[in-house]
């Protein structure tokens, strides 16, 4: 076993990135994710890497675009308003099929909103916040240990599929400290990067990284290729946790830090004799529809809990597809759902 350390979520993301071979980080300060930049600023020079505080989120994502084009493992991080600014670059990177990792430690919105934890960027992350038909792989950790493991995975998945992978966390996950067990060695997946723009050395034809194709027939085919890639990912990369669902009548669907609260709810409900389980999506895109098939028969109802007005709710309804009732409860603006609130909703559902 490797090191066992008590660390802050944001710092673990940065450490995980470095362990995954990321040597290029470009960012801009914003609460509640700034510790990622602090950690990178301290550590990168010591491992021969690059930390650069960009003039804006827009510049940071385009520096990522450059480093990814050059074939490097690269990351940027921000929180909700800053992620909105990065959408242009994310769309371009998706169009140009560039691997990169983007971290969003969400805070309440819209607009400047607040700085307390939220999950209200779910639509932006999973449905394509920028223009065009594209997706990112979206990973939703729910513990500091998972922030570590999924950040490493994000770099591998980004390289394997040549696309942007997002770590979607929130202020709770970024700010909390938990024990993390680091592996001695990371499972780094080496991929072919012969496509990159790094200087051809007069040994090959010149490479071009671009997302523009003015001939609609060419652009359509480019899109078809992207969609085929996305289809493969939907088949192969769905991840989820099923917790105490074997006998559950009500299944809570929650991700990230809210899934942690949901585990408390499961416990409290069972102490009161109500059979509640938890289905926790780990990949938000691809959404783990397969998980729903495993629990569909026994479940009487699904209850989606989010720190939003009900965004993942729509994907849950699509997955359930009318077979069972789907309910929702949530908080917004940086308020965190309380166990009592969720219990009240469960009792309301039970009462019919």
């Amino acid at each position: 076993m490797g090191e066992r350390l008590l660390m802050k979520g944001n710092e673990v993301i940065a450490e995980a990135a470095i362990r995954a071979g990321c040597r290029h980080y470009f960012g801009y300060p914003i609460t509640p994710q700034t510790e990622i930049a602090h950690y990178m600023a301290k550590k990168m020079p010591k491992v021969g890497g690059v930390f650069l505080q960009a003039e804006s989120e827009v510049a940071a994502i385009n520096m990522v675009y450059g480093a990814a084009s050059a074939g490097k493992r690269v990351m940027t991080s921000s929180s909700s308003p800053g992620i909105s600014l990065k959408q242009e670059g994310i769309s371009y990177a998706s169009g140009s099929q560039l691997p990169a990792v983007v971290v969003n430690i969400m805070r309440g919105g819209p607009g400047l909103g607040g700085i307390q934890p939220s999950q209200s960027d779910y639509f932006q992350a999973t449905k394509g916040g920028g223009h065009g038909d594209y997706h990112m792989i979206v990973l939703a950790p729910s513990s500091v240990q998972e922030l570590y493991e999924l950040t490493v995975d994000a770099f591998n998945l980004a390289d394997q599929y040549r696309m942007v992978a997002m770590i979607l966390g929130d202020g709770v996950l970024g700010q909390m400290m938990e024990v993390v067990n680091f592996r001695d060695e990371e499972p780094i997946v080496e991929t072919d990067k012969s496509w990159c723009a790094c200087g051809h050395g007069m040994k090959r034809e010149h490479n071009t990284i671009t997302s523009i194709h003015l001939d609609p027939a060419v652009l359509e085919q480019w899109n078809i290729n992207l969609q085929n890639k996305y289809k493969t990912i939907c088949e192969k990369e769905q991840r989820y946790e099923i917790y105490k669902c074997d006998d559950a009548e009500i299944i809570i669907v929650a991700y990230g830090s809210v899934a942690r609260i949901a585990k408390n709810v499961v416990q409290v409900a069972r102490e009161e004799g109500i059979k509640v389980g938890l289905l926790r999506p780990i990949t938000l895109w691809p959404f783990p529809v397969k998980a729903f098939e495993q629990v569909m028969d026994r479940a009487k109802a699904f209850l989606t809990v989010e720190m939003s007005s009900g965004q993942m709710l729509e994907d849950v309804m699509l997955a359930v597809n009318g077979r069972k009732p789907v309910y929702f409860t949530g908080r917004m603006g940086g308020m965190i759902p309380r166990v009592d609130d969720v219990m009240a909703k469960i009792k309301e559902i039970m009462a019919g």
């Binding site: 960009a54 827009v58 385009n62 990814a68 490097k72 723009a197 200087g199 051809h200 007069m202």
Partner: protein, 248 residues
Amino acid sequence: MAVVFDRPHALVDIPMHYCPGCTHGIAHRLVAEALDELGIEGRTVGISSVGCSYNNYFYFNCDMIQAPHGRAPAVATGVKRSLPDSIVFTYQGDGDLAAIGTAEIVHAAARGENITVIFINNTIYGMTSGQMAPTTLLNQVTTTTPYGRDPKLHGNPIRVCEMLSTLKGPAYIERVSLHDIKHIKKAKEAVRKAFKVQMAGKGFSLVEILSTCPTNWGMNPLEALDRVKNEMIEYYPLGVFAGEDLEV
């Protein structure tokens, strides 16, 4: 028979899409000649921007990256910081560099980022059909200043070389013109020097090239060259704004 004039290796042998009389082709050739003569094509990464030259990755034989509008200096920064031994240049028009991309160019310059910027100033947006650029001269008629550029309504044209030369970061900044052979030769020297500055690790270099857009200016190619000579140079004086004494 001795060959006295040939296509540079760094320029791909295909027809360019630029309008007759447009000086983009000359500017491309100057860049390609510099890559050839300095022997750096193999380690060069060029950044195309948004505007008429958006697809010059078809024309340059080095590795190329197409950047979002105005962001070429940030993309170039990402490449250069990833590959410190590479030669990185951006090729940007006036709308790209001096309007939507002002923040990126100012900060790349302020950081003294070791890249080369080829800045094409033709005082108008070409690709989107002749709108006002940040460099559009006063009284100049464009499709969005149909009664001429009025400083009270549209502000004043930006002198990029002068502005950036107030910063400490840039190692070399020069403004040149392509309106006749003598000036084209001078422009060639400036482009070469800009790349040599980067090769020597001296920091940020920028060459502003006064160029034509006969189509959107409503002129024939000769009239367009005359306009550069008689109107543009008056507001955009030629010369070295940073690094005059820099030996490379």
